[in-house]
């Protein structure tokens, strides 16, 4: 049972466009949602994160939109650059049993110049 689901599996957008990566979850106790970015040959690295008390978190060209009622969130990457080509993982954890984090299967993003 996958508790964190991501879509699409892969996404290709042109340079300068906005890429939208989707994530949904099942566990109502989840209240911290980080996104990790992974380049080929490297380990994932934290990109941006949001807590459930907020509905939006912005960091430069990266924005998380969060809908607690629908248990959905999305990562928007505006003015996409070829250097943004990577795999993006949505993850979730809870204040209860907060030692570990659950990752989604990832979205592979390709930015075409």
């Amino acid at each position: 049972q996958q508790q964190v689901r991501q879509s699409p599996q892969s996404l290709t957008v042109w340079e300068g466009e906005t890429a939208i990566l989707n994530c949904s979850y099942e566990n109502s106790a989840f209240d911290y949602f980080p996104w990790y970015q992974q380049f080929p040959g490297e380990g994932p690295a934290l990109l941006i994160a949001i807590r459930s008390v907020s509905d939006k978190k912005e960091d430069g060209r990266f924005t998380i939109f969060f809908n607690k009622r629908e248990k959905k969130l999305s990562l928007h990457i505006t003015d996409s650059q070829p250097g943004d080509s990577a795999t993006y993982f949505c993850a979730a954890s809870s204040n209860y049993g907060n030692e570990k984090i659950t990752f989604g299967a990832g979205t592979k993003l390709t930015i075409k110049p």
Binding site: Y32, G41, G43, A45, A49, E99, K100, I101, A105
Partner: protein
């Protein structure tokens, strides 16, 4: 920034073989994690630890043992390797668990023939 190193970076073994993957973190983080990454599954937690001598079972523990010998060192043991354990393995550390940033190592690619 936390530094997490893994060795070896690549490993080939045969079915039934004995494999030890090593991980070291140099920021004295409390938590260390072992994940496997497979296409379509994202990152799945094998084992984790919140301190020297401690071990917690993750979500996919079957066929794996782990040991945390010091604050810095966390080992993953495959005592009878099987082809299903062919994967990319990541170690990560964090200071305070699932609500904190996880810092990943560069990964170990394991092939079980």
């Amino acid at each position: 920034e936390a530094a997490v190193t893994q060795s070896p970076r690549n490993k080939v073994t045969v079915t039934g073989g004995n494999v030890t993957l090593s991980c070291r973190q140099t920021n004295s983080h409390n938590y260390m994690y072992w994940y496997r990454q497979d296409t379509g599954h994202g990152l799945r937690l094998i084992h984790y630890s919140y301190g020297a001598g401690n071990l917690q079972i993750g979500d996919v523990p079957d066929g794996y043992k782990a040991t945390r010998t010091t604050q810095e060192d966390f080992f993953l043991l495959l005592e009878l390797a099987s082809p299903s354990q062919t994967s990319l393995y990541f170690c990560a550390s964090s200071d305070s668990g699932g609500l904190d940033t996880q810092y990943f190592g560069p990964g170990t690619r394991l092939l079980v023939l």
